[in-house]
Symmetry: C2
Subunit: 337 residues, 2 copies
């Protein structure tokens, strides 16, 4: 039998199998068990059915089923400080013995005394200097190892859990459900792309090539004949606010049909998604649960959600209330509500 024909037959078999499985998944078991039966869950399931049902006017071929997710506050927590900032502070402390001059030199002196306000008084340049001291100067392989070591050992200051336990179980279910239904799931985060990739595949099932984030420049060098990429203290791309549509366009090259965010940093990504032709789904995770997680929106310095919430309400985008829509938030939550 010709190879082409073998493959054609195989594709048909796999296609039939996949369609049957999606039906089985939808019918036989709840794909989103940590979601309460409410408007948000209903909207998600109905949207997925519309775009995956052949013959439906909103049917979208699998190759175009791009779903994008912010990370901080959308897939995992971002309080009391962005987790990448916690990593940064830990990294500076770990490096301090090699930099005795930091004791006298701002913004490091304030940071090492635990005086975050003192750091912030230096404005953006001070924050940038600290970020670069923690993130640049090493090879990409060395940095990946630093991140892996940190994520394996660091603990969240409030829960005492590892940071990767602070991911939202309902969102893990949603990611898996979408992939079962032929979607390609991407992270589109203001966080550092190389801070996320070392663990995103294991934790979210999202491979490195589907992680979009902020980045610094790298420089190719031969060291003793061996090529390395050295991380430079220079921004390459800032994947936040109006940068997110640019990042999506340059890294993915297709407009998403589904986007989830939780803050005004995701506003333009949601607008960009909404402006496409055909069925679209725009979702906002609303932090409404002070007891099980945190409650914050319009007045928060971290994850401020204001203009995007207005537009969501005006346009009927889906707003997910963590308190009402989620039975469990974290996998370690003892009881479901």
């Amino acid at each position: 039998m010709a190879t082409d024909m073998v493959w054609t037959i195989a594709r048909v078999i796999m296609g039939v199998l996949a369609v049957g499985l999606v039906a089985a998944a939808a019918g036989a078991a709840d794909p989103l068990p940590s979601w309460n039966d409410g408007a948000a869950k209903k909207a998600i399931v109905e949207f997925v059915a519309r775009v995956t049902t052949e013959g439906s006017p909103d049917f979208v071929p699998a190759a175009e089923r791009i779903a994008v997710f912010d990370n901080d506050g959308t897939l995992w927590s971002e309080q009391p400080i962005y987790f990448q900032l916690a990593f940064t502070l830990d990294r500076i402390k770990a490096l301090a013995p090699q930099h005795p001059e930091w004791k006298e030199k701002e913004p490091f002196a304030s940071l090492l005394k635990g005086d975050l306000k003192g750091v912030l008084s230096g404005g953006e340049p001070a924050v940038f200097e600290i970020l670069m001291a923690a993130h640049a100067g090493m090879t990409t392989e060395e940095f990946a190892k630093i991140v892996r070591d940190w994520i394996a050992t660091a603990r969240h200051p409030k829960t005492g859990r590892s940071y990767t336990e602070m991911v939202y179980r309902p969102m893990l279910e949603l990611l898996a459900y979408l992939r079962q239904c032929g979607f390609k799931t991407f992270i589109v985060s203001g966080g550092g792309i190389e801070f996320m990739r070392p663990w995103a595949e294991k934790v979210y099932g999202i491979p490195p090539e589907q992680v979009v984030g902020s980045s610094i420049k790298t420089k190719y060098e031969l060291r003793d004949g061996r090529p390395v990429l050295v991380r430079l203290p220079e921004m390459d791309f800032y994947d936040e606010k109006a940068g997110k549509p640019s990042g999506i366009h340059s890294r993915i090259g297709r407009r998403p049909i589904m986007a989830f965010g939780n803050s005004d940093g995701d506003h333009q990504m949601l607008q960009w998604t909404a402006a496409g032709v055909g069925g679209r789904f725009m979702g906002l995770i609303h932090h409404t649960d002070a007891e099980r997680e945190w409650a914050y929106d319009r007045a928060s310095s971290i994850g401020r959600l204001d203009k995007a919430l207005d537009e969501a309400q005006a346009r009927g985008w889906t707003v997910v209330s963590m308190k009402d829509d989620w039975k469990r938030i974290f996998a370690f939550d003892a009881t479901a509500r």
Copy 2:
């Protein structure tokens, strides 16, 4: 049955099916019929078998089977000028009526008189000005349409064929064969990412999210409430020479196990691929066929192949001679040799 279990069983069935098919593909029919039986073809087939055979010491899980291909001179021709330069010249001519001032203004005046030498006498700034006049100032959607219209109508000056007919049939077979064997195929080109994406999926089977290339910056704007990305006359990323490993790292985030190029612009990409742990394949397309295509290497201004050829010979990378290794070059070649 629980959804998880349904999916686990399905994955096992699909896995068995896929392994059987790869074996069938390898055994039942020649996956590379346009390649002559020689050292290059043998090296490719043996490498693919090594990395896809479970239990082999060089086995690579499917998720890590990343193969990267340069475009100009590797997947399609690049003579007598890079095809994107032909696009640029056509675009400037099409825009000229809206720019009467170009008649007197260099480098446009020389270009419109067909005096390419005059253009080049202005050096890099002149070339950059022309490139930006052709590539920037419109929205990303408008630019994609301009490219689609051009690629559908423009004809190669020597063959009279459309540019997308000038792709190498043996390389199309190789791309398809690799994908059948679980590889993810990427383009990593010095050419413009938005010049390739509008047709790369149809022509090469490579989706937009697997195209890496040079890019200019874009700016997010609301026009009458509708979001657009405007292309700015400012370089974002130059994906050539030492830029290619950076591009691979930032866009793909995994080191390729297979890389094909044809010029010194691909040298660092091949070095970066070679430096990984485990089985690797580095290939160079050597333009040796003046009759059916073009013959050029060390002395060529376009697609100069010199240092990379030295390293390939020193390290035993695979050098594909178009004249000797390919039965047909283009699909339109009347006879195979």
